[in-house]
Assembly symmetry: C2
Amino acid sequence: MIDVNVRQGGKIPLYEEVAGKINYLIEQGTLRPGDRVPSIRNLSKQLQVSINTVKEAYSLLEDRRLLEARPQSGYYVCARLTELPAEPVVDRPAINPAEVSLSSIYQVVMRDLLDPNLLQLGIAVPNLELLPIEKLNRMLAREIRRFPTQAVSYSLPPGNLRLRKQIAQRLLLSGCTLGPDQIVITSGCVEAVVLALRTFCKPGDAVVIETPVYFNFLQMIQDLGLKALEIPASPRGGISLEALEYALDRNPGEVKACIVISNFNNPLGSRMSDEDKLRLVNMLEEHQVPLVEDDIYGDLSYSDERPSVAKSFDKTGNVLLCSSFSKTVAPGYRVGWIVAGRYQEEVERGKMLANVATASPTQLAIAEFLANGGYEHHLRSIRRVYARQTAQMGDAIGRSFPAGTRVSRPQGGFVLWVEMPEGVDSLLLYKKAKIMGITIAPGPIFSIDGKYRNCIRLNAACWTPAVEVAIETLGRLAEEQLAAS
Amino acid sequence: MIDVNVRQGGKIPLYEEVAGKINYLIEQGTLRPGDRVPSIRNLSKQLQVSINTVKEAYSLLEDRRLLEARPQSGYYVCARLTELPAEPVVDRPAINPAEVSLSSIYQVVMRDLLDPNLLQLGIAVPNLELLPIEKLNRMLAREIRRFPTQAVSYSLPPGNLRLRKQIAQRLLLSGCTLGPDQIVITSGCVEAVVLALRTFCKPGDAVVIETPVYFNFLQMIQDLGLKALEIPASPRGGISLEALEYALDRNPGEVKACIVISNFNNPLGSRMSDEDKLRLVNMLEEHQVPLVEDDIYGDLSYSDERPSVAKSFDKTGNVLLCSSFSKTVAPGYRVGWIVAGRYQEEVERGKMLANVATASPTQLAIAEFLANGGYEHHLRSIRRVYARQTAQMGDAIGRSFPAGTRVSRPQGGFVLWVEMPEGVDSLLLYKKAKIMGITIAPGPIFSIDGKYRNCIRLNAACWTPAVEVAIETLGRLAEEQLAAS
């Protein structure tokens, strides 16, 4: 059942291993900013690998803005211009669940998304130029010719079988051994999460979320009449398990679900370690709280090692894994999926009641693309671009923003979380930036009570001269605010 | 803005007018079953129309099983073998809103839908052979070549503009003058109704429905934690406005929405008159209860006159009109829409939170099909087939089912409501039929409390020798039950 592509995807190439070693030395402080790293020839001898392998490794580290080549001189560790955003304070007790009552900021931000005259740095959409548009559309056209009747007929839940088989095969890379009957096709990842929540939450129930959190989760929670219990998360390891345990103990029976973006979190960029994923799964199982795991960015790891999912540690069916192809292949195709664990039947029924089925033609096309479109190859190429671009934008922020600004350094995905000095008001920045034709996602929409006033989330999916200028503009606007305060 | 196709669609062809006159004479009893109707030559002289026009008119009436040609003899009025289902009893007071707690029947019935080995007479899906599969798929392939980037990008709410313009143009035929900005594209009609309900109903609120009612509405109501208030409906004119008024007066403030399938109702086949539509709209406006109007069968009128919608009488934005292309063009494309009236903004937001957007490629294809695919021509041809087939199945039921069986005689759509003598149990019939490889929709799933035990709904979209045999089988099974009782 496992095809060759999938196997290859799971193996770390040698150059990636070499890059990992240098990265480790930098992270540990053995190699410091400005240090010269071993020459290609020396490292090749030292590690007994080919010259080309070291070249590839250094080029990867260059993409990630960890090394820079200086002509006639060699490779040097880049100056790190910015620090990571501050770790959250987790020693204060977690607050009680609260009703979500979002101000009008969100509405305004959402409306701006439709404005084609604005440079959209506020929305987490992939770079259109990195999508396999021609190939995918060609496959769509071919598949509906091959299966004309299937294309116009309902693909009732759980959805197209070939697509589910392909997804099940790919899930091996995330550590999951699942059959196609454990998957339900949805119209995107958002729908998957909504179906999950609607399965086990009644109005008034509390849902654990990370903070800061992807703002659509807050909207969903409000829309479903639920309460939110915010648990601090760190830009490195994600949700604080200590705070979570404290909160679960303090609110027995009240919490009915926990939503986590475990890999390359939006907005923080955090990635949970395998140990933490295991701990999280066990903790929630113990408290009988289902985990809704959103892994939409998992395939966009900057290294070729695809991170595991918390679902892979799930022995009881308590974890519901949600994802889609909206960040990697085609947002407009609206093809996502959920592994619903012990809630499979309810989720299938919920899907039927929500909109009967997901569109058949786009399911056919994604299935074919996964089977014969070179999805793994496609991922390898876009990963490198996103790695380079988030590093480039991070550097630019370091150069243009006020001193003391901190920026996340994600190892996957394409969003950056920027923490500016306390004096900068991101809502004011939002307004000023819009006048300059730029939209950003202001920090307060990522929490239930207007926290993160000095933070913004930026989309680093595109790195163009216009975006470069926009970052300079944003930096200048932030400086002006600080100077005026 | 009105294109020529749309205008033509609104005009009744001459042969249709002639057929209408004969139909009137039959309905009034001037021409009775077995009577010979005027010869083609005579009628042509009498009405001053061409021979061909009369031929076309008679052929249409033959399709509808109102006339039959006898060789060497002429046309005769068909013997009507069955009566209409009984009118509901409406003099009893409407009951209070009740929680919907559906038994497992529904689950079983739904699961059977997925079984390709069963002859599906229980599900209201269109005849695949009548869908414009080749043309539509070809248009899809062409549109994504024309708009490759749009095809893979989000088509955020309210959805594809060209599609909304086409829908707005067609709505003229239903009596509505609306702009594209008053329409939101949805993933089918079910999603449109759910989005509407979720906009103004909180758990515990009551929703008025007709009884018998399309079973998915009951599922939705249960799923949203709402209560249902059933109002009797008649197979001719639909919901009883007297009973509705009584119920609204008795439950002031408790009812938060009313769902009605105004044209060619599923399951009853009823069509509300324009007067009743106007009264309904005014009554609900007066009680401040939004009307969710499902018009999914409206385009499948057996005459070329497209019925109006209640929405056309709405002056305040209190009516939300829902429909889709699932019954006429392509269920699997999942393209529907809602005119959300004064709730436009909330519905757009709800759509975004449910699944961000409807798939872009299928929106592009349907827009092109409406603009250049001959939708009106397509409708004219499938209407005749459905008219003929529902009549054929109605006749077959009259021949095969126990004496006293009544069957609806819809003027549009493709479902039949069959009321058998009291001694027949449709749930038992369901089980026995399944053993014979046939599924039907048993009456009790169309109500909250197991009413319509002696009724079934049948799909008359396909009329094949296998279906003909199936009807005979069902009739025999019903007879056996009666004999054993």
